[in-house]
Assembly symmetry: D3
Homo-oligomer: 341 residues x 6
């Protein structure tokens, strides 16, 4: 009943743990008098999904030194994530309020994270040397360096150390315009971090943003953009992309595609006709991909990642909590959802 012992070692993730607070039943906040809450955050979601699938994972972060931080740590433990690199500091945990949309109504988010325990992290607080022992892969996203200078510097220190130790680095360069308030150029910083990474999880939009290009989002455009990315960042060897069609907030379609340096791969499209929770679906893709690359060939890994992404839409919370078996079934085409007794 423990995480599988990978020959290649554990996975390490770095990023903020946020508390998410939502009215239930698609209510507006002003109609509610209670809020459901979940702990999540893009890299923690990846960690939790991996741990739930049995992978050994360690998450690096700061939480608040109060009852909220206590609950956050308990949740990390619950998911099976290693917490030896979690520090408690005297700043509040970051959080956000989410009004859940429906049909053509968008979900709305209100953040309270710019003075959080994670935003106040700095490189002196993190012993990367020790954390990266027996580590096979370090995963990061573009959210963290956008939160604060300290978060950026801490992440950079980790990526550099990973490079020195030969640890693989996966980058999910998500760009969020509501971050990056501390006065640095997101393009410049993300470019520097991607230069230290080995696998790129993103698509044409992210590449265009980074390279200031205008590739189209069709297959040809994706291949061309990927090639340009690999040329600019020679350490990057592969590009994995999740393509989403948003019919509306309650109805989504997703498929995966990849450029592995030599060939284009893609999956069939999965359709979620009644979305339960949209949050964390990209992280489910990333976690499925990392799991898949450890266990399957690239095409199977991509199928697995896409199925994981689709299944995350079907239950509450930021973390993908279905089993490897459930993901495999959907990856292999069983999507009729019949009851399992």
């Amino acid at each position: 009943m423990q995480g599988e012992t990978s020959e290649t070692g554990k996975i390490v993730t770095f990023g903020e743990v946020l508390m998410r607070l939502s009215p239930s039943d698609n209510r507006k906040l002003l109609q509610a008098n209670h809020l459901d809450f979940f702990f999540g955050g893009t890299e923690m979601n990846v960690a939790a999904s991996l741990a739930h699938m049995g992978v050994e994972v360690e998450h690096v972060t700061n939480v608040s030194n109060d009852i909220v931080g206590e609950a956050a740590v308990a949740t990390l433990r619950k998911y099976g994530i290693g917490i030896s690199a979690v520090k408690k500091v005297n700043f509040p945990l970051g959080l956000y309020f989410l009004e859940v949309g429906s049909a053509m109504r968008s979900s709305q988010v209100a953040y309270n994270r710019l003075n959080s325990s994670f935003a106040n992290i700095d490189p002196q607080q993190v012993d990367w040397e020790k954390i990266l022992e027996k580590c096979s892969l370090l995963h990061w996203s573009g959210i963290s360096p956008g939160v604060s200078e300290g978060a950026y510097e801490t992440l950079k220190a980790g990526l550099e150390r990973a490079g020195q130790k030969g640890v693989m680095v996966t980058a999910d360069p998500a760009y969020r315009s509501n971050l990056w308030k501390y006065g640095r150029s997101s393009r410049e910083i993300l470019s520097g971090l991607i230069a230290l990474s080995t696998i790129f999880i993103g698509g044409v939009n992210e590449i265009n943003e980074l390279l200031e290009t205008e590739y189209t989002s069709d297959e040809a455009g994706f291949i061309a953009a990927s090639k340009a990315l690999l040329k600019k960042f020679p350490k990057i060897t592969k590009v994995f992309d999740k393509v989403r069609t948003s019919v509306d907030a309650s109805w989504q379609k997703v498929y995966g595609r990849a450029w592995n340096g030599n060939a284009f791969l893609s999956t069939s499209q999965l359709e979620i006709t009644s979305v339960v929770d949209r949050i964390g679906t990209g992280d489910a893709f990333a976690a499925g991909l990392l799991y898949g690359l450890q266990h399957f060939n690239e095409q199977e890994a991509l199928n697995f990642a896409n199925a994981a992404c689709a299944l995350k839409h079907t239950h509450m919370g930021d973390v993908n909590l279905v089993s490897v078996e459930e993901i495999q079934e959907v990856a292999q085409g069983k999507t009729d959802g019949r009851i399992k007794r």
Copy 2:
């Protein structure tokens, strides 16, 4: 942080405030042991939607002089509706039970309103002269005159006074067969009230009901019916109609159309693939229309009204609580429901 000061003055609405009591999760009442509740009522819904968009509104009604009436008034205040014309009387607040349908199962309503605080209103209780000061528009619906003789007489007094003061009058002549128990002909009474109104919010069914005609519900039929209506009621200058296609209780399509005395206008159709709450969607249309006519040209106003109607389907409660910006986006065609961070 106050209602916008319209040059043309506030909007006044008249009608019953009902408490709606519903089992959650599509339960039948006999399966439930608690009920969600909302305060609503067709004209109050219009008032609340307008107030939420920043319009100054005053609602005229009676509520019960007890803890239920206290909560009803607190709700009016919460929405920003003016309450100086709300009276507390020694009759219970009207209410109804709603079992929420799904797919081919209809929602079911059980009313308890015929001896309510509003049903016991009479013209002596309402100082229309004072209420209509600095008022630009008085809105009514066909529900109110169906509740009781007193409600009818009170409304008629208001419409007459509005006419004398040159206040515009919008009529939503909704006909409900389960009302009209006090022995008067609904056609006769509604005709009299529409004769005092300037804008008609309704369609072919309502016109056929009033004129005892049999116009078809296609575009030509709508135009012909509208012309006939304007001929019969020369004070009416425009007809605005919301056209609904009910795939089933969970899947609805709506578009708007209008006859402005000279030309036919219509909107594209909006599709709600996963209805959260069907109640109050017509009132959202009316409120959107009134707001739109104050701020935009007629075509834009119709688009805005239709988007408001669609968006009301996507959250709980009788009142449309999305923002002007959200409605504008949908009115302009952005219906993919992507998360707003």
Copy 3:
């Protein structure tokens, strides 16, 4: 306000009453801290649906002699089911946990029933002679004989006595692979019980399972399979089948078909675009069929059964709690789900 007095007498059902425990809001059990519960069980669901439609029904079972059994009996009474043949014994009530799926995610069930109060039933505990007095029909399913030897023996005794008394017997030979742990062949036992029955509620899969045949599931296959069944079991005179297309866990299509010994009948297909609860929909079909055969001709009965099945998808719980009028409307084609005021 009592069950209708049928000339032909009451209906008797036999089977386990299970407590179902589910996290709400499509949560995984490990995310939840409370569970909704319902009492159900395939034959009890049939009984409850029939009682809700006004039919006199008696249910034969064992429940636990504790607060859970007390609540189960209260629920039977609430639905109007006769409880004079319910015994309290010192074993726990059977139960199961259900995680409710969505889109391509299947619902998952975890049972705790193999040592239950019902599993410990034996023929000495049931006075079939008395129970079958003034009884017109005895209904059973293939679940019960799979639970335990005692349940099988008790059922067999009932069917034999029914045969002696000329009571009609309806069989729903549902096969569940997770039962049948007590060392008997399901095919052999079910064949023996079907030989004692007069109406078969099942389709090609069930017939193939019983006859070790491989009929196809199209119309021709269904007719051929039905004929083979009637040949093998001469007491069986009719076959009624519910055909389900599972788009995904949230979107289902159903229609009914039948072979009445002479002719093939079928209904139009009903589509449930937003499933509220999938459990008990087959039982709703069976109950609708039994009610329909008592009140309508065969085609109408089949339409009624199919509408009942569809409507069960639209509310919570194991039991179909819509009214005869609601079922009739849908059976006659009104599926737009408009609000009933």
Copy 4:
């Protein structure tokens, strides 16, 4: 698993079934957005408590012909109350809102019952002759004749018929000042009804109210008042009284006393230090008394009634749902509340 077959026959109760709607957690209604609900009413509470203890009971009332009435009837069935004398009529079910007090804050009630389905009952709707067949006791309270003229007339007809048939009559002459709106003197009417009754469940206040006397509430006063009552109403043979000391809304003390025509009886005082629900505690006393008088001697019956009253304070709802064994234990002095495993 059926009501015990009393030699002396079933108990019949007559009165309104009310829906009670309460915010949870001691909230004020204006703070809540959902309400817990229970069906109750003083005589129905007596019926339900008796049925829960295994006594055969029939309740006579009108309910609404809608989803609320359907749920009310399902609740009566759930408790095991006979419903053959329940009629569905086209008036809404009576209801009330309850804000639950705490410490020195009183609970507050807002009624909506004066135009209810029960208020519209009349003697033509009730076939007392049939209902009182095989009946040993008819129970009524002073609430019912206060609701409406029709309710009074119907009750009177029942009491007269009971007298003719030699059926015992128990009277709980609760006086509620917020009723009696239909223009009759409560004293006059209640006196007439008590003259038709055999057992009086009430105390000095009720007697003073009826006789226009001023007896004190101590033991001597109670005895004197009881004697005066028996003198005025010779059919009455016994007086049973529940004496409550209200420390505050959350802390209550109760004991019972009686005058049996010859002797004074009393119980020890029971203390409820943390009241869960105050409603229905008097009805629990009445039901406990009726059960006790059928099964025990007078002193034991009084102890049993007092324990039943105390225990009703310890769980939610209008009805006493503890078991005969639990009541007996408390009646015999075990009040330490230790866990039963």
Copy 5:
């Protein structure tokens, strides 16, 4: 149905609106998955209590320009508080998490307010001249100047303007050690603000803190401390104090006392044996006092304030929502909590 028009004008309050988030049922945060929420804050609580009693009140604050701020403003409106001096700014609303204690377990609070919308207020944002028009009284507490330099400066500007306009000022100099992080001496700042005030709501602890004295908390000590305070701050004319005895978190006793410059006054002690919510009880005292001083003599006002304080313990939330009548009853000694029908 509007706030009473005081001859002396409205009351103005200044302070932070906080969102309070609590697990229900005395859970620890790490056990919960949803949180109840309330908007409160010491001065807003005073404002809301006063508005609920019918007093015209205006609250001065900043809220966040997002869905949380929208809900906060809706709540202010709901309580009837004037919002024309509420600004929306681009900082998150302050909030805190509360684990509700019980018996000897203390409630625990975790704040997230130091970078809030209110902490970022500054004097330029508040037009005190306009706000204090037609104002009779300005109320402040020691919380606000502890939050930030800007909050302190804004408050000081208001108090100075009030002094110039002859507006009475009530001071509740609550000292919170977890505030005052911006580098100023709390004693110095509070002294400066109290010098601008006319009524002091506090006791021996607060006076000792301010004057660096060591008065005892008995009657003599209170009188001596009050005299010393009036000597040091000659503008202060009266001292009102609430004395609490905390048996444990669930059981509290309170009484009021005062020094009016000439005489000592005190109330009887009220006992809350089962506390529902401890938060806001001091604010209920302050609001009761302000209401009382406007309507009654000083002794009655003190009784009223103490009863308001006691009653706030009996319902959920930060705001006292009982009626003037309920407070009066308790102030006059009716504390038995009997149901009001």
Copy 6:
């Protein structure tokens, strides 16, 4: 952020993990439609409390191989309990239903555990040699050997191995009459297991049960009984006892006493006037004691244990989740429960 590394090594516990299912709000099960659930069990509660205080703990048990077992393991992880000795087997997790009592009403329990995953444990499934590595203490209770022969044999094997390795053994010989169904004498078996233990957590009742003596429960009786126990079981060196006075289900008093072989120790009594949850309070005492004996002297440890026991009554669930600091405060006499900001 990891368990403290004790020089003396981790603590190991052995016992069943049960799911507890309770209606909220003191409802009877038959009134509820949802149940709160917690995972607990006497030895797991000790483990969780210790882990929450930072002690390294490993729990030995079997859980079900389904979604319930998955949630149970997630809960163990959440509390920080080591799970390397938890096995998943194909039997359902044990569970019980709890109706929560109040005042003189006892809580009631209905178990479903006799065929559980834990009851089916056997010595072959547990590698005690490995589990007891680096272990300083093994804790057991009398519940486990009562569940099944396999549980007894497994425990005995562990105790014997602990003896061989010099690991301390603490025994909480709780006797439950509803267990011990597998045909062995509880006295004989418990005696054999206590003979293998070093510390006894129990009182006069438990000693009398074991020794078939009749010591009184006063101080002298406790000392005499303890001496007799130490004489009979020479390996036992100390006796720690929790003495409970049950005013009623909502009001409890507890104090601790001990015989350490030489001297009698006792604590002051703590009073819980409003019990939130009675379950697990004995386990909180045991965990507090084990923690105390590791960190403090015996008197302080006893005070700490008693405070832990008292504080467990003040929050929901089976596990004591307050902090070491909170326990210390109460142990040192601060019981006024004032809010901590």
